[in-house]
């Protein structure tokens, strides 16, 4: 049974269409990531599901209920904002229990639920502090705690890790994945970071210009990108995409090969190239090559033993790893 179903969603602001013909179904218990460059409509789509914006046309079903015109609070969703949106004048306890107290639940029930959520998120000792006195990671957890106590059918996350530093982000990625496993709830997660998408998602939805480019598991997107856009968006460093006459010579409009799928040789190969720039990352090295025939190429090789800048080398694509669009 699917948990969230979007049918023919369209959204316009004035005369500008920002979402067009979105059809999507997200299964129960799935961790679904909306990814795309800024302005692609991923946040708008999330806000449409949350009910913070209303669709221009189309239908939104959550569980088995049509919620297209329901109030946000009646959709069975909870949301974690990019800025966390913690109420600065309330303590952690009051922040987590805010929705319950608005719903006029008994005090004992609120207390029990808040404390259970806080325990699960290791916030027990911080309950009487104000958000100001918390670290970024702790604030993040409070925001998640506020979502948990609502016991929603669907969790919505709007770029929740983008305000954290790199180390904390990796840790929170793991915590969120753990949380997803523990709760077994449906989660929809918006990010512009393809690494987050790849590492956390059961299903990735790649959006571009208000349309869905492709839907699939992380490895499906990596191995079978449906378009040059998806091919270029997933994977780091970015796939080499060759267009124009060079691509036509290779039998397609756009020819793609990932940096990790290039073989280098000093003696022979597909394309003759010059080493222009070297980025050493320790375990691997990124080479920027200038080829004669197909222009610049990026190659990624293991280890640090690479020819110096200015050397002439040859690069070839690994059989079966090329993409022709």
């Amino acid at each position: 049974m699917s948990s969230v179903t979007l049918t023919q969603i369209k959204k316009s602001f004035g005369s500008v269409d920002v979402m067009n013909n979105i059809d999507l179904s997200i299964e129960k218990g799935e961790f679904c990531v909306f990814v795309g460059p800024s302005g692609c409509g991923k946040s708008t789509l999330l806000r449409l599901i949350a009910g913070l914006e209303l669709v221009t046309s189309g239908k939104i079903v959550i569980g088995d209920r049509d919620v297209t015109h329901a109030e946000p609070s009646a959709r069975g969703i909870a949301m974690v904002f990019q800025s966390y949106a913690l109420y600065p004048h309330l303590t952690v306890r009051e922040n987590i229990g805010f929705g319950l107290s608005l719903a006029k639940r008994p005090k004992a029930e609120i207390k029990a639920k808040v404390e259970a959520a806080a325990e699960a998120l290791q916030l027990g000792h911080l309950l009487d502090r104000k958000p100001k006195a918390l670290s970024g990671g702790q604030r993040q957890r409070v925001a998640i705690g506020r979502a948990i106590v609502r016991n929603p059918a669907v969790f919505l996350f709007d770029e929740p890790l983008s305000n954290l530093d790199a180390a904390l982000r990796t840790q929170m990625r793991m915590e969120l994945t753990d949380l997803h496993r523990k709760l077994g709830a449906t989660m929809i997660y918006v990010t512009h970071d393809q690494v987050e998408a790849m590492t956390m998602a059961d299903k990735i939805v790649v959006l571009n210009g208000g349309r869905i480019e492709q839907v699939g598991t992380p490895m499906e997107l990596y191995n079978k990108p449906a378009s040059p856009f998806v091919a270029g968006f997933i994977g780091s460093p970015k796939m080499n995409l060759i267009e124009g006459s060079a691509a036509e010579a290779l039998g397609c409009k756009v020819y793609g090969i990932r940096p990790e799928h290039l073989c280098l040789s000093t003696t022979e190969g597909q394309w003759e190239a010059n080493v222009r720039h070297i980025e050493r990352l320790g375990a691997e090295t990124i080479l920027h090559l200038d080829t004669v025939v197909i222009g610049p190429l990026i190659a990624r090789v293991a280890g640090e033993e690479v020819p110096p800048v200015g050397t002439k080398i040859f690069a070839s694509a690994i059989e079966g790893r090329e993409f022709r669009f």
Binding site: A50, E71, P72, S73, M79, F81, Y87, H89, R146
Partner: protein, 274 residues
């Protein structure tokens, strides 16, 4: 601190004391004198200490009118400022959060309200029409109408500093519009509210012109009206007149001591943006 700064400071303090403090000392000294001494209007120390005497006499004057005036002024100030704060915050919030073609009209009204002096006689006509002329209620609403533009402008600027995510989080948590406003927005506007309360309380309490027009009559006197009326009554009793001035000066002095920072913030915020 350089020697130059010290010397300038000493000189400035001496001059400021003469120019700005002397009148206040004069008020105090005269308020402690007997009526014969006070009528000389000079600056000598009082021969006898009549502070308490004068205080009681001023209170008893005209059948405890000053007490009634303090009561009326307090009621007007408290109610007017409370309504001003609430209405101003609601309008400022809506103005900042929801864009519509009405916004321009509201801004225009705010500017008109800040600049244009009220048309007094037509206002009396309107007040008579709705039965609020010479009433405390009418005076309260008048003060609200005159103070609202400043309040709206100030709140609008403060609401802009509150991220809209907070409203949305509350909406998802199931808050109705009034709950979003009262449980999330209004508590976060507290600094603006404190400043507004302080600045507007002083303004309403000190207002003389509008009670003069809209609150004639003995039963609804305010503090400023009483002071003005005492001026003619106590022509020969300067000690009581100045005791009255002293009493009128003390409330703002107390507010000033405790809320100096908020007053400065309110006066300059309203001014620089106005």
């Amino acid at each position: 601190m350089t020697r130059r700064q010290l010397m300038t400071g000493l000189l400035a303090t001496a001059i400021a004391s003469i120019i700005f403090l002397l009148p206040f000392i004069f008020i105090f000294v005269t308020a402690t004198k007997s009526s014969q001494e006070a009528s000389l209007l000079n600056f000598s120390l009082p021969g006898g200490w009549h502070l308490w005497d004068n205080f009681i006499k001023v209170l008893q004057a005209r059948n405890y009118m000053l007490l009634l005036a303090y009561l009326n002024s307090t009621i007007i100030t408290v109610c007017a400022v409370a309504i001003m704060v609430l209405c101003g915050a609601m309008i400022g919030y809506l103005l900042q959060r929801r864009s519509s073609r009405w916004n321009k009209i509201i801004y225009a009204m705010v500017m008109v309200g800040l600049i244009v002096p009220p048309a007094v006689v037509p206002t009396i006509w309107v007040l008579q029409g709705i039965g609020l002329f010479k009433t405390i209620h009418g005076m309260i609403l008048i003060q609200v109408a005159y103070g609202l533009p400043f309040s709206v402008l100030m709140y609008r600027n403060f609401v802009a500093a509150i991220p809209q995510d907070l409203d949305e989080a509350a909406i998802i948590d199931g808050a109705k519009p009034l709950q979003v406003f009262f449980k999330v927005i209004l508590p976060l506007l507290k600094p603006a509210t404190v400043t507004l309360i302080v600045v507007k309380s002083i303004a309403v309490f000190n207002d003389f012109t509008h009670p003069l027009y809209y609150l004639p009559g003995r039963e609804n006197v305010t503090v400023q009206l009483t002071l003005y009326n005492f001026q003619s009554q106590f022509e020969t009793q300067y000690n009581l007149l100045f005791m009255n001035i002293l009493l009128v000066t003390i409330p703002p002095l107390i507010v000033f001591i405790f809320f100096n920072r908020q007053i400065v913030a309110g006066m300059t915020a309203g001014a620089v943006k106005g």
